[in-house]
Every structure is written in C-alpha cells, then in structure tokens.
C-alpha cells in the first residue's frame, strides 16, 4: 500500500490573470445568474427580452472562456448545450408537431429569469430597509421582565411528628426479637395421622384428621404437613387416597391389612 507523502509539495498558485472574464465567471452563482446578468445588459424589460440574442451572448461567453482555457463548471456547459439546442430550434423552420415547441422553451426561460430578477430586487429592497442595529436602535440595557419563582415549602404537622418519632426511635437502643412461628412438623403430622387412622375406619376427609384446636397459620401449617404425611403413608401402602377432582376434598382410609403388603 502506498504511503501518503507527509511532506508533499503544494502546487504553485495559478498566476493571477488580469482577465475580467475569469473573475466574472467566478462571481456568478450558476448559469441562471449569468444569464440574468447578460439579459440585464440588453437594457430592456425582461418581458421584451430577445431570448435568441441572450442565447448567442451566453454561448459566445462560454466559448471565449474555454478558449482562454478557463475551467468552466459542468452546469454552465450543460446550460450551454441546452441553449445551443434551443437556438437551433428557434432558427429552424417551425415543426408544429414538436412538443414542447422552441417558443414554449424560450418562454419558460424568460419566466424563470423574471422570477429570479424579482427576488433579487426584493432582496435589495429588504436589505435597504431601516434595520435594527444599523438604522434604528433599541434600548441597550433594558431592565427586562422577570418571572421569579418563589419556593413555598410545605409540610403537615403529621410529617413533622412522624419524622420526630423516627428520630427518637433511631436513637433508642435497638432490641431484635425473632418471633417463633407456629408450625406443625412433618414428623408430628405423620405421628398424628397414623394414630388417627387407627380410630377412623371409613373414608374421612383430610381436615377431619387435624386437631380441632388448631386455627389460623397453625392450621394451615397442619394441613400442609398432614397432606405430605398422607402422601408418604400412601407411598408406603398404608393408606388409600380418594379425590373426586382437582381441588375437591381429599379422603383418606387406612389400607386393608393383608391386601397391601
């Protein structure tokens, strides 16, 4: 891969030409701008302008520039080619079938030039108006209108007292007490269930096997433990289980001895 030269020679600047043509070409903003300048040289109203004469001027301008080996940007050449076509079409005997007709093309060009000229004049008139900071002046340091936001703090007496409560609590010695939760262990449930199975002979609901004085979380714990215990006893073949459907009551019965083992 070729390395880029770090210290390349800068091409010498092109010698300054005392050539108005070149300077002019650079000072135009595109072919339409140049056309408008040439049109204005005709010193007639743009409505009466001779498009043919304008085309002639443009083409000779561009060809002169090329003879002087000036670089002519592509869009100027495109316009030159189009104008050359327009010129020949305007000069040739009219072909009524040609669409669009050269007259129409010329009219379009004329309309475009009129519009550009109108906006150029408008810009000049706009810039000539009395402008702020140049012709008319405002106050240098106005006081200004201000909207000042005033913060209004809000809190209720409850906020205040509960905040103080928290402070007091934080500063009191902290004692952690772990509360023992009421549970029925699996062992206890197994033991209890086996005992009860000896008493109840027919099908009975699981909840009937629970101690009657259990309620609340302790009862929930007993149900869970007893259920697991029932499954364990069933696995051992010591109990039969029956349920009509999902979420229906679960019935237990001691397995008939002799058939199981």
């Amino acid at each position: 891969m070729e390395e880029l030269p770090l210290d390349f020679e800068v091409a010498p600047a092109a010698p300054e030409r005392e050539d108005a043509l070149q300077l002019s070409l650079e000072s135009w903003e595109g072919p339409l701008d140049l056309l408008l300048a040439l049109a204005r040289n005709q010193k007639v109203d743009l409505k009466q302008i001779s498009i043919l004469a304008l085309v002639e001027q443009y083409l000779s301008f561009i060809s002169e520039a090329r003879e002087l080996k000036l670089e002519v940007a592509a869009d100027y050449l495109v316009m030159a080619a189009w104008l050359a076509y327009l010129k020949s079409a305007l000069l040739l005997p009219k072909d009524p079938l040609e669409d669009p007709s050269p007259d129409e093309l010329a009219l379009r060009l004329q309309l475009r030039l009129q519009r550009l000229a109108a906006m150029r004049d408008a810009a000049a008139r706009l810039l000539a108006r009395d402008r702020v900071g140049r012709d008319v002046f405002l106050r240098a340091k106005p006081e200004g209108l201000r909207d000042v936001r005033v913060r209004r703090w809000d809190a209720s007496l409850y906020d205040l007292l509960s905040a103080y409560g928290q402070v007091k609590l934080r500063s009191e010695p902290v004692v952690h007490m772990v509360s023992r939760r009421p549970v029925v262990t699996l062992d206890a449930a197994l033991h209890h269930l086996q005992r009860m199975l000896g008493v109840k002979l027919d099908w009975a609901e699981l909840s009937d096997f629970l101690p009657v004085d259990y309620d609340g979380p302790l009862r929930r714990s007993a149900i869970a433990s007893s259920f697991v215990a029932a499954l364990e006893l069933a696995r051992q073949g010591r109990v039969e289980l029956k349920q009509e459907g999902a979420f229906e009551p679960l019935y237990l019965k001691a397995a008939a001895m002799g058939q199981g083992a």
């Binding site: 129409e104 009219l107 004049d121 706009l126 810039l127 106005p142």
Partner: protein
Amino acid sequence: MIDDLERAIEAMLFASDEALDARQVANRLGGEMTPGDVRAIIQTIAARHAGSGIELVERGGHWHFQTPADLAHLLRRERDDPRKLSRAAAEVLAIVAYHEPVSRAEIEAIRGVQTSKGTLDVLMEAEWVAPAGRREVPGRPLIYKTTDAFLQHFGLTSRKDLPGVDDLRAAGLLDPVDLAFEEAMGELDLVKDGEEA
C-alpha cells in the same frame, strides 16, 4: 395626567428585552384586561410618542420601542454591521419571505443553483427563518417561513408590509413558473383564436 394602566403598559413595553404582544401584556397585568383593551391603550401610547426621539412600533403583532430611522447618523457609532448578509443569503431570505412557506427545492428552482448548507443556517441562526413543518407531498420536504424577529429586524409591521409584495403578486411573479407558463400559453391561445376569428 396619564392613567395608571397606560403607565403600567408603557413601563412594561419599555423595560422588556423583547417585543411583547397584547396577550403577553394582558397576562402580566393579571388577566383582567382583554388583549383588545390592551391593544387600544398601546395605540394611545404609540400616538403619544409619535414624532419624538423614541417610537413605539408594531412588528408582527409585537410592540417595541426604538429610535426613529432619521436619527441613525447620530446613533450609529463605529460599529460593524453585525448582520452582513452574503448575496446568496439575502436572495434566499427574500424568497422565503415572499413565498413562505417554501421548501428548499422551491428556493433552488427559483435561484437555479443549489443552496449551500451554510446559507439557510445563517438565516436560521439569525432567527429570521425557521422550519414550518413539512409539505405533504412525496418525500415530505421541510418547509421554511420567516419569523417575528425577521419582521422586527427589517422594520416590517406584518408580512403584508414586504416591499412591493402586492405588485409582485399582481404581476404573477410569485406564482410558480409552471402556473405562469400555463397562463401565458392560455393568453397566447386566446390571441390565436382571436386572430383566426
């Protein structure tokens, strides 16, 4: 004796660092006046200052105090014109002002050249031109319009105040080329018809 409300509105307009419209003034007064009431009082204040060294002027519905243009020579000091516009920028500004809202492609169609990126940027930075949404045509191009700051800077009461805008409109010079072309051809046909008749 100048009435209290008039004094208040005068002070507000004088102290504000930007032009105010009647609604802003009414709001600041506490909302008991309608913008219409405020406008009437502003007219009174403007009339009182007419012909003095301080003028109250309207720009796009907003009012501000400024010095009269005929005193510019006394007030203009060795300051550079901070808003020196290139010819291209001035042309683009005029096209936006007279055709608004206008897309970049429409600007370029009139000027016959591409608009360099910097040109519109300069106008937007000066806050004279601002985007005004998109045109609902294929490609949904951004369209541009001029701002109240534009009216203020160039001393225009409203867009109707643009120099020569009525003449340009009457002459069809603000119409697109296609429309103007069809009209011109229509007239031509009429002439031909007339000749044949």
